[in-house]
């Protein structure tokens, strides 16, 4: 089971947009998972449980797990690359 942390400024708006897409991708790739949706400020408290962080905004902090810029899931630009990165990290 993989845990994906999806974060945005509020933990509500853009992270919800990204979550739907991530859910589809992980299902298509048959990766069992749980999604934790949170605000950027809350990442620290979930980091230990997570396998990857997907964010809609540029992350300022340093994290102990890999991060993926998820803006492509919102803008359409760079979505394939973000998808590839995400799947690669989770298939390890």
């Amino acid at each position: 089971m993989k845990t994906v942390i999806i974060a945005c400024g509020s933990g509500i708006a853009t992270s919800t947009m990204i979550s739907m897409r991530v859910e589809e991708i992980l299902n298509q790739n048959q990766i069992p998972h749980e999604i934790i949706q949170c605000s950027i400020n809350e990442i620290d408290s979930y980091e230990d449980r997570g396998d990857v962080i997907v964010s809609s905004t540029q992350l300022q902090g340093e994290y102990s797990i890999p991060t993926v810029m998820g803006i492509g899931f919102i803008s359409g630009i760079g979505a394939e690359e973000a998808e590839r990165q995400l799947v690669e990290i989770l298939k390890k």
Partner: protein, 159 residues
Amino acid sequence: MAVTISKLMENGRAYFCRWHSQEDLFDSLAEDLLAEGYVKDTFKQALKEREAKYPTGIVCNKYNIALPHVDSEHVQKDALIVAVLDEPIGFHRMDKLEEIIEVQVVFMLLIEGVSNHIQAIANLTSLWLDDGFMDELLKATDKERIVELVKKHEKRTIA
């Protein structure tokens, strides 16, 4: 029952105008939305603070957009607010904070209660991924037309 984007647009407002800056845009939208009962008087300040901390400019395929928003505590009514800008204005990029992009359309989602809006929030992205919708949106001159365009878009995308 889940709320659709077209319903949120019907409940919302559309602006077609020329603003000189983001400050100018936020001031005039916030004042109008307050007068129309969409938001609380804390909205304007919250909007500016949020945008400064977490900018919302997004580079898209044809037209750059921005998604300024605030927490639900500052909102009175669920609605989608769209501003089509006669002249693009600068927003910092969500994914590259230092960079400023010229934005042509602002989508502002006002959500008072999140739970029954999850699907609508997620579906919103499909609007600007639809070049045909965006082309027509930039030509629109009233809210009714935008509602019509959103409905057409929903018919195309929701099987």
